[in-house]
């Protein structure tokens, strides 16, 4: 028979395994996302900045959550809070807009 202690340890372990097994939801830019306005290197830099600069107060928000009309205003609003430069925020916006049309 399992002891109370073993059951507790097993539960903890299985929950940890469960949440490692889920795939990440934040898209990785590929050739399909490249448009006249942004090349792959910019999109990759944008993702890196988004992951490193926008997750400190709230967990990252998926690009699909907001429309192409909503994102620019939101990124501008978050710029000062994140202590990023206008150049960095431009790249982040490019990355976020690739999630949709």
């Amino acid at each position: 028979m399992f002891s109370k202690l073993q059951i507790t340890k097993l539960t903890v372990l299985s929950i940890i395994v469960l949440f490692i097994s889920c795939a990440p939801a934040l898209y990785i830019p590929g050739k399909d996302n490249v448009t006249l306005g942004s090349d792959l290197a910019e999109l990759q830099a944008g993702r890196k900045l988004y992951v490193n600069k926008c997750g400190s107060c709230h967990t990252l928000i998926l690009p699909e959550k907001h429309t192409a009309a909503q994102w620019p205003g939101m990124v501008t609003r978050m710029e000062a809070r994140s202590k990023i430069t206008p150049g960095e925020s431009k790249l982040i916006l490019k990355y976020l807009l690739k999630g949709k049309e």
């Binding site: 903890v12 097994s21 809070r81 990023i84």
Partner: protein, 272 residues
């Protein structure tokens, strides 16, 4: 008793007021006891005020821990923090079959370092490493944490494995010696976001204390908490009762000699 009810009622009213008046979101902190993998950006700073009440042992016991923490982001996913810790503990002591109350107060300083390796949204799982040392006049502490978290839709899951080494000076007769205690704790928390400004959480703390390498006492705490956010300011409140013990049970299935029946923590944070 009546006084306690009033305190709870006031807290509930304050919580409700915050809920209604909070205009916006941000959620860094869903949990009060369990850590998430987030770190501050370079240049971001945060002030946190922690208050923990622990009470309910076999004999009278009440302990209040207050921590004031100043955190700052150093860039490259690294952050550091400095804490000033104040502790006050009142408990029953027995001398020649007579009981009396004794109060101990303690001040200590700690410094933490946290490094984020993986993000809970961008990667399969969020991962951070955490190290802390603490210096007091009667206690020295070293602590390491492994932090995992994951966000799935409106749910946030976090798990921590904590290892802590405590050294306390003492005397055996006239011989000075160091008492060594190690702790191995596991935290598991599940949070749900009703809205970006209001979250509820279920937290579990599985605590194990070792003396000279053998498990001395062990207990499981499980409780509920809320987190409310307003712009760069947030409040977390959790009530964590002991639900089972695995070593050192007193009457019932709880250990009320080394652990208390309930822990309550209130945390305020401000990012600037």
């Amino acid at each position: 008793m009546k006084q306690k009810t009033t305190i709870f009622r006031n807290l509930a009213i304050a919580g409700l007021f915050l809920l209604i008046s909070a205009p916006s979101m941000a959620q860094d902190r869903m949990f009060t006891y369990t850590y998430q993998s987030t770190v501050l950006n370079k240049g971001q700073r945060e002030l946190e005020v922690w208050n923990t009440l622990r009470t309910g042992r076999q004999d009278y016991y009440a302990r209040i821990d207050h921590r004031t923490e100043f955190e700052m982001g150093l860039g490259k996913n690294l952050q550091t923090a400095f804490y000033l810790n104040l502790t006050s503990k009142t408990q029953a002591v027995e001398l020649n079959a007579e009981k009396s109350l004794e109060t101990e107060n303690e001040i200590s300083f700690s410094n933490e370092w946290k490094y984020k390796l993986l993000d809970p949204v961008a990667h399969p799982v969020g991962l951070a490493l955490y190290g802390e040392y603490g210096i007091g006049s009667s206690e020295y502490e070293l602590e390491g944490k492994l932090i995992l978290d994951k966000k799935i839709k409106d749910f946030t899951l976090a798990a921590n494995a904590v290892y802590e080494l405590e050294l306390k000076p003492g005397y055996d007769g006239s011989e000075k010696e160091w008492e060594k205690e190690t702790k191995n704790d596991y935290y598991l928390a599940l949070g749900y976001s009703f809205s970006p400004k209001f979250h509820i959480a279920m937290e579990n703390a599985f605590k194990n204390v070792f003396e000279d390498g053998t498990l001395n006492h062990s207990a499981l705490y499980s409780g509920l908490g809320v987190a409310c956010v307003q712009d760069n300011f947030w409040i977390n409140f959790t009530v964590l009762p002991q639900v089972a013990s695995f070593k050192g049970e007193t009457n019932s299935s709880l250990n009320l000699n080394e652990f208390e029946k309930v822990q309550i923590r209130l945390l305020f944070s401000y990012v600037f």
